[in-house]
């Protein structure tokens, strides 16, 4: 109980400190320069520097399994890996922000400040070991996001999506909090480690505790867009500026899954069979909802949003696997790997969408891609790689990540979930192929926006190459992840 902040704890939270400082630099400069933006590239550089520093600190200090600040934070494998994935995804998104018409230029410093704060929230979220910390991390991340979306230069859809996201997010937060209150009430604890000691008994005997857990799970399901709590996703993803969508689809999803994983992977929860059964059905419903709805979308971002929902369904399989397996490492590592692969592909895809947006209120339809392959063969090829990879076709990263996920699921006897997963992959092929069809098989004059999109293009190509090649050598990578979780 007696607490003093020692050096060790401070070292552990250096990534957050780095992010916080980095977030303040551009806005401070702006203030000092008398409310005049510095060069955006400088702002971006400062932000990326902060992220790189955070990543570096995370690599150096994180992953030791140590806890900090009286067990409210933990820095273990999940923290480290998920943190790295989220940070890189966020870095990618920030490059997009730098060049996207609806985010660049005016107020870029504020945007970077908010983004970095959001990332800070993410860092708290993935390392939180206390329900309160999870809540605070979640709120810090979300509130920044609401504001980021609201700040978009696009005035109509972005505002609407920000508001929708905000109301539904707060609604879900209330539910989440209510759940925490029940868990706290029935166990007297909010710390996950201490909860673990009592869960086994409580979940069997105490309806209230179970109740609370369900509410918490529902709160997470909302954040990671599991059907039927997914309804915000397509609207918000479509309305938000594309870089923010990329940010939400990757970094936010990664950290939400990290926290979700942490809760679910507290194995005693399996004492409630029904809870896991319900989760399995949620996974199935999510896959179906995401994939079937995506078939009919003409807006690329919306299609990717539904695809993101579908991927949440696949990921939930992994989370469930982690929850029921004797050592959660297989499931957890497959989830981490899947998130990594998914982030890579999604950042790349959204980067291309971002590149093709001519003005701030231009929304990209699938038909707008016609003939793109002829105009920009390399970018088109990259996009095709992302699509094939998202569909899970070998030898791309997407296939291997799905393989690991299903492997873990089947290993735990969840064959029927794996079968649902693969059946849904078939459905998904249809809509993932549509942009490819458009780009390669239709005549057209589509091109990227005329503005300079050098950094974005680099991002696309790099992610595409990684997507194509990392799969083949992913074995050691997965082993590394897995070994760090034990």
């Amino acid at each position: 109980m007696n607490f003093t902040a020692n050096m060790g704890d401070l070292l552990l939270i250096t990534p957050m400190i780095a992010l916080f400082i980095a977030s303040l630099i551009p806005i401070t400069i702006k203030v000092l320069k008398g409310n005049v933006e510095q060069k955006p590239i400088a702002t971006l550089a400062q932000a990326l520097l902060g992220i790189v520093a955070a990543a570096g600190f995370l690599i150096v200090f994180g992953g030791s399994g140590k806890t900090a600040f009286n067990d409210v934070l933990i820095f273990d494998g999940i923290t480290q890996w998920m943190g790295l994935i989220a940070l890189s995804a966020a870095a990618g998104s920030m490059i997009l922000m730098y060049e996207n018409p609806s985010t660049r230029g005016v107020q870029f410093s504020e945007l970077v400040f908010l983004s970095l704060s959001s990332i800070l929230g993410m860092m708290i979220l993935i390392s939180a070991l206390d329900l309160l910390m999870i809540f605070i991390g979640l709120e810090l991340m979300s509130l920044s996001l609401y504001l980021m979306i609201g700040m978009s230069h696009e005035q109509r859809l972005a505002k609407e999506s920000a508001f929708k996201y905000f109301v539904l997010g707060s609604f879900a937060s209330a539910i989440f909090l209510y759940g925490i209150s029940f868990v706290f009430g029935s166990s007297g604890q909010t710390n996950i480690l201490k909860l673990l000691e009592v869960t086994m008994n409580l979940i069997q005997s105490n309806q209230m505790f179970l109740f609370g857990m369900i509410l918490i799970v529902v709160g997470f399901c909302f954040k990671v867009s599991i059907a039927p709590f997914h309804a915000w996703t397509p609207d918000v993803y479509q309305g938000a500026p594309t870089p923010h969508t990329a940010f939400m689809a990757t970094a936010v999803k990664v950290v939400s899954f990290a926290a979700f994983l942490r809760i679910i992977a507290t194995r005693p929860l399996i004492a409630s069979d029904n809870l896991f059964e319900v989760l399995q059905w949620l996974a199935v419903i999510t896959m179906i909802v995401g994939n079937t709805a995506a078939i009919l979308q003409n807006n690329v971002k919306r299609m990717l949003a539904y695809s993101s929902i579908a991927h949440s369904g696949y990921l939930l399989i992994g989370v469930i696997t982690a929850g029921i397996s004797d050592n959660g490492t297989i499931g957890a590592s497959s989830v981490i790997f899947y998130l990594f692969a998914y982030s890579l592909m999604t950042i790349g895809s959204f980067a291309l969408v971002s590149m093709m947006e001519k003005t701030e209120d231009h929304s990209l339809e699938v038909g707008d891609l016609a003939g793109f392959a002829k105009k920009r063969p390399i970018l088109a090829l990259s996009f095709a790689v992302f699509m094939f990879s998202l569909a899970g076709l070998p030898p791309s990263l997407g296939f291997f990540s799905k393989f690991y996920l299903f492997n873990a699921a089947i290993g735990e006897g969840l064959i029927w979930l794996a079968i649902w997963g693969v059946l849904n992959s078939v459905i998904s092929v249809y809509y993932y192929l549509r942009p490819v069809v458009m780009m390669y098989m239709h005549e057209g004059e589509s091109d990227v926006a005329s503005a300079n999109h050098f950094a974005t293009a680099i991002t696309i190509v790099v992610t595409a190459i990684l997507t194509l090649l990392l799969g083949v050598v992913s074995g050691p990578l997965l082993t590394l992840v897995e070994s760090s979780l034990i």
Binding site: L73, V106, I124, L147, H153, K159, N206
Partner: protein, 178 residues
Amino acid sequence: MTADAFLFWFLALITIGGASLVILMKNPIYSALALVFTMCGIAALFVTLDAFFVAGVQIIVYAGAVMVLFVMVLMLFDLKHEVEAFSKGRITGAIKLATAGLLAGLVMGAIFYSSTAVDTVITKQLAAASGDPSKQLGMRLFTQHIFAFEALGILLLVVAVGAVALARSKGGTHHDQR
């Protein structure tokens, strides 16, 4: 009926009544006022639960600051033409009511089913540490929850900066910033 009980039922009436008014009143100003009532009621309930400090904060933060903000915004908009307060759709409306009702029912069910368990928890717990609850709260806040507290600070900073940025953004209140 003891004084405690009477107080509870009275405050319950106020809060539930206030809450009902919040959602029933067509005019948002009335809703806001009803919310203030509810919040005060809840603050009073906090007092019955020996949480004096929190009760004070509740009054100051909620009934004071937050509600003022709401009323300010309402005044700012000066909305008069809202004819319908509730969204249309009988079936969806019924479903929505049923959902909320069921949720409440489920919570009650859970509470009843676990009342024994709750009781054991209560008996098991040690008596509150002696001393001033506020001091105790402060101690706890700045030791155990120091990190959360710092994070909260950042959060408030973010909200402050963000709200300003939002207001100055394109489509925000200050069009001249373009």
